[in-house]
Amino acid sequence: MGLVMTVINIAYFIAAILFIVGLKQMASPTTARRGIVWAGVGMVLATVVTFAHPEVQGTVNYLLIILGIAIGGGLAWWSGRKVAMTDMPQMIALYNGMGGGAAAGIGAIYLLQADPETASDVILGIAVLGSLIGSVAFSGSMVAFAKLQGLMDKTVHFPAQQWVNLGLFAVTVLLGLSLALSGGDVNNFVLLLFFVLALAFGVLMTLPIGGADMPVVISLYNALTGLAVGFKGLVLDNPALMIAGIVVGAAGTLLTQLMAKAMNRKISNVLFKQFGGSSGGEAESVTGSMKPIEASDAGIMMAFANKVIIVPGYGMAVAQAQHKIWELTQLLIQRDVAVKFAIHPVAGRMPGHMNVLLAEAGVPYDIIYDLDEINNEFKTADVAIVIGANDVVNPVARTDPDSPIYGMPILNADQAKNVIVIKRGRGAGFSGIENHLFYADNTRMLYGDGQKAASELIHAIKEIG
């Protein structure tokens, strides 16, 4: 091993340590900011030394590398800076998909260059596997991005969808197998077809998945990209890729499981069954009616309460209402009302999505509570304000075994003395299930956009003086 390669390997080794330590630090609120900087240093280090890698050759190739980093990095820097906090989930999906595509690209080049003299079946097989996973993560993430960005209808269904997908997957795997067993004598047409079908499979697999399941799906694709990167590390003989990729693959898998568990959904159900699609049996019919309330009345109710619990959901993110909600909270605190925020693990489009938004608005940690911490407190709350949340407060999850969300842990907002639901319209949630909470005797509906409704409430409380 030459001197240059030794230096490079040492740099990769340090980068791998920085990634692991950085991720570990990101797992604790006090050190999280340092963590991303450490990981960033590792990334810069690994990237810089790679310019000296003996396998990187040719002036044109050098120029292309620099140009590619400038274009990709520049666009990502610009978009990442510009994007609103509420749009973070789809940006993560987008950047993650790009990583998957890059891993697939490495696989494509490796297979194009495969030499029958030296190629090993095992490495070819791993290159194919990594390419398949990377391609699916790429096109799947792009669909997730398009859905969350509102560029595409929420869900797409067609007859015999599962069978079409299964058939497509089987054909793709067979093509991959033939590539892996080709002994390095790769047929370019088969290669092209393999990539096209793998990309198509990623699209078709993601199309029927609804908005409520997106956090799980994005996290899953994140884990898949990690796995693909790890496999490419083996193909390229690059330990930095192997370690970083597999660490992310494992961490992402666990994170996906945690999320699916919080929603009481099996990962296989998320991917292969539509919400409520085949749950069988009619859901309990709703009794009662939705009772509207004016902002002025709701404001009085809150201003004279002892304890108010706010339950934010995706609707708050859409309406960008977090700043107004915090202003409202401060007003209530000034009036000696105890205000707490209750965050369901899957409120929004990613776990912790609501925490991020509330943090952005300046809401302190110590009044934000997890489901387990606060669920018993609803009983003692005078008012529960549900803003833009739906399925996560639907009591049928406790009461109706026929409901598709039955068994999902929910916030017991219905146990508060009064419930005010801020909601744009009368429609059902992403799951399409009627929410019995909205019809309950102690529930009043405050219709309107979250931001506007919060402004009206602020106004109403200020009026009281």
């Binding site: 991303i36 994140n222 990209t225 597999i246 494992a250």
Partner: protein, 97 residues
């Protein structure tokens, strides 16, 4: 060339490490951590650089070039987004205590 079994050990240990890192994380950090791990697999950039570095035909160069663009987007975008999220946590911490 990393020997087959050594590679297997690396995979196993890395998998345990990843699992261990996530297992004790408060819910509030799930999103930043997902974003952070998204950034870490941006290391694929190094792989795309090497792959493009020994590309010989125009087709390979094209594929490699696209791969480098995508990988750079993953790394830079992942960093910017994660950093922005964590920045807000700091502000809120100060304001709250």
């Amino acid at each position: 060339m990393i020997e087959g079994f050594v590679a297997l050990y690396i995979f196993m240990l890395a998998a345990f490490t990843g699992y261990e890192i996530i297992s004790k994380v408060p819910v509030i950090l799930h999103t930043p951590l997902m974003s952070g791990s998204n950034f870490v697999h941006g290391i694929v950039l190094v792989g795309t650089m090497v792959a493009l570095g020994h590309a010989a035909t125009p087709l390979e160069q094209l594929v490699g070039f696209i791969a480098v663009i995508l990988a750079a987007g993953n790394a830079v975008g992942g960093y910017v987004v994660t950093e922005r999220m964590l920045e807000m946590f700091k502000t809120s911490n100060k304001g709250g205590k």
